[in-house]
């Protein structure tokens, strides 16, 4: 037991990994931290500002509004996509060529690049040449996403639902396929109604994939950028300006490196915090279900 060789040079073995992680995560992140505490005026003119940028970002009412819109957006699309995804998964065919065909059709929106999705919807909703825009106008509905913020919101949400519900549906579908046939047989013998089968067999077995689906969709929707930028450009006014777009305007449009660095860090921390809270809550709930530790 005691013939271990003590040699601190062994730490050098960790070095390659450390270098890799440094380049992939630590250095870029530290650059941002560096900018967030300085005011850079030119190559040789920089001043240390401390937490000033953080204060000003947190007190910026436009950004606060963007934050509230962002939360609202994420919750809305979750509230639509999760039930819709489960619903679609439930009615998808279970076997045969129909199953494969439906699976491919459903996955199609997932294969389209973000800004292409934005362009598709931008054209789709135009009143002069877009199928939906034109159609709605012909029906006598005053629909215009560049003027009416309600229309812009609804279209943004519709676009996200169209693009990402397939992901939720596919996750749920795989979860449903993994339920052994015996459960359904037993339920028929027990005379369970369709609703009871869903409530007591399917939904409990879907919990795990739903946790993944909700986490993925939340993080994703919180960072949404390209599609909306192409579709509405954040307008009309700032009614559909979300966090990522505010950040891009600040960092690239105005070259405000200090404030946008501080903003980035806060943004990152918010996503980290929300994901952590969500994850811990779910894990905690599962523990409560199983108070005896499953020994």
């Amino acid at each position: 037991m005691n013939n271990k060789v003590l040699n601190n040079r062994a730490w050098l073995l960790v070095l390659p990994m450390l270098v890799l992680v440094a380049f992939s995560a630590i250095i870029p992140l530290m650059t941002v931290v560096n900018y967030s505490v300085q005011d850079v005026l030119g190559p040789n003119a920089r001043f240390f500002t401390g937490t000033e940028w953080f204060h000003s970002i947190l007190n910026d009412s436009a950004l606060r509004d963007a934050f509230v819109r962002q939360i609202l957006f994420s919750l809305t699309i979750l509230a639509i996509q999760v039930p819709l995804g489960i619903g679609i998964a439930l009615i998808m065919p279970k076997r045969g060529w129909q199953a494969s065909a439906v699976l491919i059709l459903i996955t199609l929106p997932l294969l389209i690049p973000w800004n292409v999705v934005g362009s598709i919807w931008q054209i789709f909703t135009r009143g002069d040449i877009g199928l939906m825009g034109y159609g709605l106008r012909e029906l006598g509905i005053n629909y215009n996403i560049t003027r009416n913020s309600g229309d812009a919101w609804a279209t943004s949400i519709g676009m996200d639902v169209w693009h990402w519900t397939p992901l939720v549906a596919m996750l749920c579908y795989s979860g449903l396929r993994s339920i052994p046939e015996a459960y359904y047989q037993a339920a028929r013998i027990d005379r369970a109604s369709k609703w009871a089968i869903f409530r007591y067999i399917q939904l409990p077995k879907l919990t795990n994939v739903l946790v993944i689906a909700v986490l993925l969709r939340f993080m994703h929707s919180f960072m949404i950028y390209a599609e909306h930028f192409v579709l509405t450009g954040g307008g009309p006014g700032s009614s559909t300006t979300f966090l990522s777009q505010s950040l891009a305007t600040m960092a690239i449009g105005q070259q405000d490196l200090g404030p946008s660095a501080a903003f980035s860090i806060i943004y990152f921390l918010v996503i980290l915090l929300v994901s952590w809270v969500f994850y811990t809550t779910i894990m905690h709930m599962q523990k409560d279900k199983n108070p005896h530790g499953g020994a």
Binding site: P180, Q185, I189, R191, N290
Partner: protein, 366 residues
């Protein structure tokens, strides 16, 4: 409560069955009487579970009828047949408590709570689940889970029958015995028809009053455990029931003698006549290991054998020997005199059974 009749029943999983081998269940007629405790015994893949699923309605037979009390129920789904089935692996609703699991089938039938409660507690009491009632059904061990599964089958009093599909597979041995006793108890108490699928003859004979032995998609014999042992109607039953199974000798009738290969067998007149009258090339004589006596010196009607080995199994010894190159087993009682390498065996005449084309043919003993 019902009498279950299978009329001309056959099932094939293929859409266009052409030969015997396409059928999971070959055409059969069978009656399960109300209140009986039955076992369906057979090796894996003989069609036991298929038959069970046809009775419960999970599967629709491709030919023939299933009758409950004379009414055709072929098209009725399980939920309308009022039947309970317990599966090989436990199925529990794990977000519910054990109590709610047991109450589930009753509540699905809109039974008022004041009737649900005593019934659930009664079944929980029988199955020793009372201390677990308020727990989430996720927690119990495998056997507790299976007990919950069984409980859901037993909780409905008015069922036509309860079907068990190898329900004790996941249960540990000591508990198996206990649960089998419980089932028997429940059967006596409620007088419900029970059909119990298993591949274990011991399990079948301790549970059932009558056993249906299935082989290759057919019920080859239906009888009490004693009948199966004493008068196997098919060579498979002889081989499958008993430990070890029956010995078989392929014989022919030549020049007034019963020949086992080149060896004339010293059998009595009645057996010899029956073999001669069989009129088939597939004739077998069966003899249980219990009815072979072995001695060191020649006896009347004995044949010379070569001993392979002798296994001491406590209350009896198992002798393996060869006769004419074929391996046989004989069961020797405790305290039997030691047997040398070359010995002599006598096949007890009145215990020899004759099988023509694998089925039992009565020997006209006079």
């Amino acid at each position: 409560m019902a009498e279950i009749t299978l009329k001309g029943l056959a099932h094939s999983y293929s859409k266009t069955p052409s030969s015997h081998s396409d059928y999971a269940i070959r055409q059969m007629d069978h009656v399960w009487h109300q209140g009986g405790a039955y076992a369906l015994l057979g090796p894996s893949g003989c069609g036991k579970s298929t038959l069970l699923n046809i009775i419960s309605g999970l599967l629709e037979p491709s030919e023939g009828d299933v009758l409950f009390d004379g009414h055709r129920v072929n098209e009725l789904p399980p939920e309308e047949r009022n039947i309970a089935q317990v599966f090989q692996f436990p199925v529990i609703y794990d977000t519910m408590t054990v109590y709610d699991n047991l109450a589930f089938p009753l509540r699905n039938m809109n039974t008022p709570e004041y009737k649900v409660d005593p019934k659930v507690r009664e079944i929980a009491d029988i199955l020793d689940l009372t201390p677990l009632l308020s727990r989430k059904a996720k927690t119990p061990t495998a056997d507790e889970k299976q007990k919950v599964s069984m409980g859901r089958g037993l909780v409905r009093v008015d069922v036509s029958a309860i079907l068990f599909d190898e329900p004790l597979t996941v249960i540990e041995p000591q508990l198996k015995w206990k649960l089998r006793r419980k089932l028997k108890e429940i059967h006596e108490r409620f007088n419900i028809t029970m059909i119990y699928v298993t591949h274990d003859q011991l399990e079948a004979s301790t549970f059932a009053d009558k056993i249906a032995v299935m082989y290759d998609g057919q019920v080859v014999q239906f009888g009490t455990p004693r009948e199966l042992f004493e008068k196997p109607a098919h060579t498979f039953v002889g081989y499958f029931i008993g430990s070890p199974g029956m010995n078989f000798l392929s014989v022919s009738h030549q020049a007034g003698k019963v020949m086992f290969g080149e060896l004339p067998l010293p059998v009595n007149e009645a057996v010899s006549r029956s073999v001669a009258a069989a009129g088939s090339s597939n004739i077998k004589l069966g003899i249980r290991p219990e009815f072979i006596t072995v001695s060191n010196s020649p006896e009347p009607n004995s044949v010379p054998i070569e001993v392979v080995n002798l296994q001491d199994l406590g209350t009896y010894s198992l002798l393996s020997f060869t006769l004419n190159g074929q391996l046989f087993k004989a069961r020797l009682p405790e305290g039997h005199a030691p047997v040398g390498d070359a010995a002599h065996a006598v096949f007890s005449d009145q215990h020899i059974a004759l099988y023509v084309d694998e089925y039992l043919v009565e020997i006209g003993h006079e």
